[in-house]
């Protein structure tokens, strides 16, 4: 006694299952329309989605009354209302498709005139449906063909028009948006096809089968859920609020129905109490969920801002390294010309030079070479600082790397009167796993230093495979020169950034002190080590570079 489906309204008999289902659908849509409209009142997408939901609710509700009212005239009025609601469904869906997802403006005039005229026309007596009858299969209606035709054309045009618009949006959308539009299209197409079949084709003047009109609204549940999901996930929020609100409103609504169907005073008091407590907790629940969602939204906004800032930083970093690359290229071009023509002049290409002129030009030449070295070092430094050095490890033969460096420095050494000797390893090929380009650069740096700081004499390179204390094999390159040597107090800063000995500054005033820092960095990144030994100032030095023997040997063994 007193359950909500027992309510007697307008003297109508008990709802049966079909009407109950229609009622649930109508209530669901009505609630959805209210909640969405309430939460985002100013948003066109939400407004029109609300209108779709309202139309669906009215349609389902009107169909209930059409089916159960015993008064044929009233039943006819409700059937007309159902048709007008259906016009609303197709029309609002069409407008919704225009606005979703990116709120494209729409020209209303033609649409509004057509829609208003059709609603007015359908509302006229003697149009579309002219009478209600009861048949053995249930409630049915007698139709008028012109009105039906107008309604049919309108519905098909705007319903499928909206689908075409959404399909275009889908084609050009990407990511989650594309997925969401996909859901909407499929769900609406499914619901639409069933709706059209049960509520437009079967009850047409040609088939006059009215027994299934209650089925159409049921399928709209699929569509409502899908569209709801898409709209909410697009806006990243509020699905929680809406769900909490729906739950709370649903419970309160049922308790309210219980309350109004109560007959005895004690029942009324008890149910009123239940209703008030439920309503109180509902408000409380919705408030707290709303607060939580607001906090999450704020966090989301901050996260987005951070992502944008990160992106900007990355771009800035990239621009910086591009700038350095470009700047060094631009600096080198005039230096190439200076060095080139100077060298040709010094080679007597333009006639023999007076002794004083030659001496001056040689000074210019060494400054130009220094400047070129500076540009190289700046480039290396910027790469080290930005962590941009990336290694491509591959099996390389150290002997080959050394030979290549020797070839490239032969001319310079010859010009300085320095002889280069390479004592090849007696113990093996010295295979290492490394980045051939970077290792070559490191060897070049060491060898270049040896030549640069030599005063004639010889530079001797030696390559050996050694078994270290840890049982691993190491490839050791030593480069011995008879140059300026290294004072004991200069040793500690030798491999540090900008660390230069006083003696080195005398020979190469413009150096930056980056070369050895770079070598150390590269060698250590290869799990090796680099160090120097010197008997002291003016007595030459030996630089060592040790790298673990690599994969080539293992593969062979």
């Amino acid at each position: 006694v007193g359950a909500w489906y027992d309510i007697k309204m307008f003297g109508i008999d008990i709802f049966n299952t079909k009407e109950t289902l229609l009622f649930v659908i109508a209530a669901l849509n009505g609630m959805l329309a209210f909640l969405i409209g309430k939460n985002h009142r100013k948003d066109q997408v939400n407004i029109w989605f609300s209108i779709i939901a309202v139309s669906l609710a009215v349609w389902a509700a009107a169909l209930i009354f059409f089916r159960i009212l015993s008064d044929y005239f009233l039943a006819l009025i409700f059937l007309k209302l159902a048709y007008i609601a259906a016009i609303g469904i197709a029309g609002s869906f069409y407008v919704f498709a225009h606005y979703f997802p990116d709120r494209k403006p729409m020209r209303y005039v033609f649409f509004a005139v057509i829609t208003a005229s059709l609603i007015g026309y359908v509302a006229l007596p003697g149009v579309l449906v002219i009478g209600v009858i009861d048949t053995p299969t249930g409630r049915a209606a007698i139709q008028e063909i012109t009105g039906y035709g107008a309604f049919f054309l309108y519905f098909m045009f705007y319903f499928f028009g909206a689908l075409v618009i959404l399909y275009h949006r889908w084609r050009f959308a990407a990511g989650i948006m594309r997925k969401n539009i996909g859901y909407i299209i499929w769900s609406i197409l499914t619901a639409g096809i069933f709706g059209i079949f049960f509520n437009l084709v079967l009850p047409s003047p040609f088939f006059a089968a009215w027994g299934y009109v209650w089925l159409g609204p049921l399928f709209t549940a699929i569509m409502v859920v899908a569209v709801f999901y898409a709209v909410m996930s697009y806006q990243l929020l509020n699905i929680k609020v809406i769900s909490a609100e729906m739950l709370a409103t649903g419970i309160s609504f049922i308790l309210f129905l219980e309350l109004i169907s109560a007959r005895e005073f004690s029942e009324i008091v008890l149910r009123a109490l239940f209703f008030l407590v439920a309503a109180f907790f509902s408000v409380f629940l919705v408030r707290s969920v709303e607060r939580e969602v607001a906090e999450r939204e704020e966090l989301q906004i901050l996260t987005n801002k951070l992502a944008v800032a990160n992106d900007a930083l990355r771009k800035l970093d990239q621009a910086k390294s591009e700038f350095i690359s470009l700047a060094s290229h631009q600096l080198r071009t005039p230096l190439t010309v200076i060095r080139g023509y100077l060298s040709m002049a010094l080679e007597n290409s333009f006639g023999s030079l007076r002794k004083e002129l030659r001496a001056s030009l040689e000074l210019v030449m060494s400054s130009a070479i220094e400047l070129i070295g500076l540009v190289d070092n700046l480039l290396n430094l910027s790469r080290i600082e930005s962590g941009k050095i990336q290694y491509a490890f591959e099996p390389i033969i150290m002997a080959e790397v050394v030979k290549k460096a020797l070839r490239e420095l032969t001319e310079e050494a010859k010009a300085k009167g320095v002889a280069l000797f390479f004592k090849k390893s007696q113990t093996g090929q010295c295979p290492v796993l490394g980045d051939s380009y970077r290792i070559h650069e490191a060897v070049m740096n060491l060898l270049d230093n040896a030549v640069k700081y030599s005063r004639g004499g010889a530079v001797v390179l030696q390559l050996n495979e050694n078994l270290a204390g840890d049982g691993k094999r190491y490839c050791r390159l030593s480069i011995r020169d008879r140059g300026i040597g290294i004072a004991a107090e200069d040793m500690p800063k030798l491999f540090t950034k900008f660390g230069r000995s006083e003696d080195a500054k005398k020979i190469q005033a413009g150096g930056l002190g980056i070369g050895l820092y770079f070598v150390k960095r590269v060698v250590e990144d290869h799990h090796g080590r680099v160090w120097a030994e010197s008997p002291g100032r003016g007595r030459g030095s030996i630089f060592f570079m040790e790298l673990p023997c690599g994969a080539t040997q293992k593969r062979k063994g």
């Binding site: 060095r339 080139g340 290409s349 001319e411």
Partner: protein, 130 residues
């Protein structure tokens, strides 16, 4: 001995002329192209033994020239030596992948050193061929 035909492709006229001056005094027959586009045109006109190719040029940079040569098989008998002041590892790898035989950073060599590098490359090529 027949002169080696060399084509210098560089949009910097001063640099191109400088190398041309040095190579002409060696055993070379030198031709200059002042853009990648011009260079491709000259390569299509006839075979060169050596092509010295700059990278940073417009229109048609050195990479495009290399790619075009590779695609059209224009210079299968020529050695292409990239001569550029770009020295990033990525530039070098990209040029070598596109079929360059050698890569020389211009600022690091004098014209005479460049000449000897080229002569070495020719000598190696001959020894491979015979």
């Amino acid at each position: 001995m027949a002169k080696t035909k060399i084509l210098i492709i560089d949009d910097d006229q001063v640099i191109a002329n400088m190398y041309a001056a040095r190579f002409s005094r060696g055993n070379f027959e030198v031709e200059i192209a002042n853009s990648g586009k011009d260079g491709l045109q000259k390569i299509k006109e006839g075979k060169r033994d050596i092509i010295l190719l700059d990278l940073a040029m417009y229109p048609a940079d050195g990479y495009e020239v290399l790619a075009e040569i590779k695609k059209m098989r224009l210079a299968h008998a020529s050695k292409i030596i990239v001569f550029s002041n770009l020295s990033q590892k990525e530039d070098i790898e990209r040029a070598m992948l596109l079929g360059a035989s050698d890569y020389i950073v211009k600022a690091n060599v004098t014209p005479s050193e460049a000449l000897r590098r080229v002569e070495n490359i020719i000598a190696n090529k001959m020894s491979v061929e015979t």
